[in-house]
């Protein structure tokens, strides 16, 4: 392991023993995906209804923009370590951080999705006798869906990156390979872990981008 660290990382990745067992690449990848999906899902259950409400009624708009903006200044590592001390080692602490970090993107996505719809279209729906709930469900959400999914995409990228820090406070995920490598001064393993996270992040990003394109209603530019 004295040659090029990238070649050594490929050797590490090519070793079949890395691809099986409870500490293998597939299990760690699934853990990482699971953390990301759960974090984004919980955050969406909180943020999307609030964002849709704000977008539809126009109430608390200034507050929502301020909250989403201020949250960007919060250091992710700080939240993860703080909750680890307060809640204890395990998955609850990182999950709390994931939810908090995913909320701003989802909130902004949901509210800008509704707001992006032409007011004349909404008025036309209202004139046709649609109730406010019908307007939201049948007009505003379908037309704003690409922006809403854009919010999900932003939140997912944020959580997939932060999910590495779960391993830093005792949980699993692909971060394990990086922190184990750091502890044992195994740089090729750190590279291998990093490459795995980057591939996962790019695959998720491009899939959600594709979904964003596919959900664009015909006749609108998304």
């Amino acid at each position: 392991m004295n040659g090029n660290p990238f070649l050594d990382a490929l050797v590490w990745l090519g070793d079949p023993s890395r691809w099986s067992g409870p500490a293998g690449v597939p299990v760690r990848t699934l853990e990482h995906l699971g953390y990301t999906a759960l974090g984004v899902l919980i955050a969406a259950l909180i943020a999307v209804p609030v964002g849709l409400y704000v977008g539809h009624t126009g109430r608390f708009k200034g507050l929502t923009v301020a909250v989403a903006g201020a949250a960007r200044a919060l250091p992710t590592l700080g939240l993860v370590t703080l909750f680890a001390l307060l809640v204890g080692i395990g998955l609850t602490a990182p999950m709390l951080s994931f939810v908090i970090l995913a909320i701003p993107s989802l909130l902004a996505g949901a509210y800008s999705a509704v707001e992006s719809v032409d007011p004349a279209t909404v008025d036309a729906a209202r004139a046709q006798g649609m109730t406010e709930r019908q307007i939201l469900a049948r007009v505003e959400i379908p037309l704003g869906l690409p922006l809403l999914i854009g919010g999900v995409r932003g939140a997912t990228m944020q959580v997939v990156a932060t999910a590495m820090l779960a391993a830093y406070v005792g949980s699993g995920g692909l971060g394990r390979f990086i922190f184990q490598g750091l502890g044992s001064q195994n740089y090729p393993q750190m590279i291998a872990g990093s490459l795995l996270v980057i591939v996962l992040a790019l695959v998720l990003d491009l899939s959600l981008l594709l979904l964003q394109r596919l959900t664009a209603p015909r006749g609108t530019a998304a």
């Binding site: 200044a73 919060l74 992710t76 990228m157 996270v197 790019l202």
Partner: protein, 216 residues
Amino acid sequence: MTWILANLGVIAEYTGAHLLQSLPPILVALLLSLPLAKLCNARGWLRTGVTTASGLMYAIPSLPLFVLLPGLIGTGVRSPLNIIIALSLYGLALMVPTASDAFRSVNRDVLGAATAQGYAPGARFLQVELPLAGPVLLAGVRVVAVSTISLVTVGGVLGVPSLGMLFVDGLRRGIVAEIAAGIIATAALALLTDALLVLLGRAVMPWTRRQEGRRP
């Protein structure tokens, strides 16, 4: 609170290291994005390529990039240079498309009028195009500044000194106040830099002051 008061020296030292890692990327992103954006706007295919590359760059999480750079450029894993280069790349990924939009938003007729009045290309850029693109550029730099200052802390897990060390050390020693101090110091540094950028923007672009109230 007692921990914070007893360790003000440590916090100040980490704040200094933090600034040394966050200011260069912000400056690099701003200064390099201007010529790159001009170049992109002159060549359509380059603009498409850069937009795609920026999107992909932004999707790469910071910690893996901090880990990969030493192997690519020969620095040590704990070198602050890795953080500076990685964050400059993120800054550029955000600033180049922003600057490209900013320059495209400048009215062509205004530039034509400036040329007709006898502005040489360089002077026209500095005295007409750049000031008119200023507000959008400022908005981009503000986003870059806040996210850069927040991301520097991630280097702490690799042992690169910054305010992020307060999280690493606080976790290891079980001191909640130390972590809280780190979060507050990082957020304060980010918001303070943002406020300074706004003031700087008002100073160099006095004509934007009246519109401030309408900007979100």
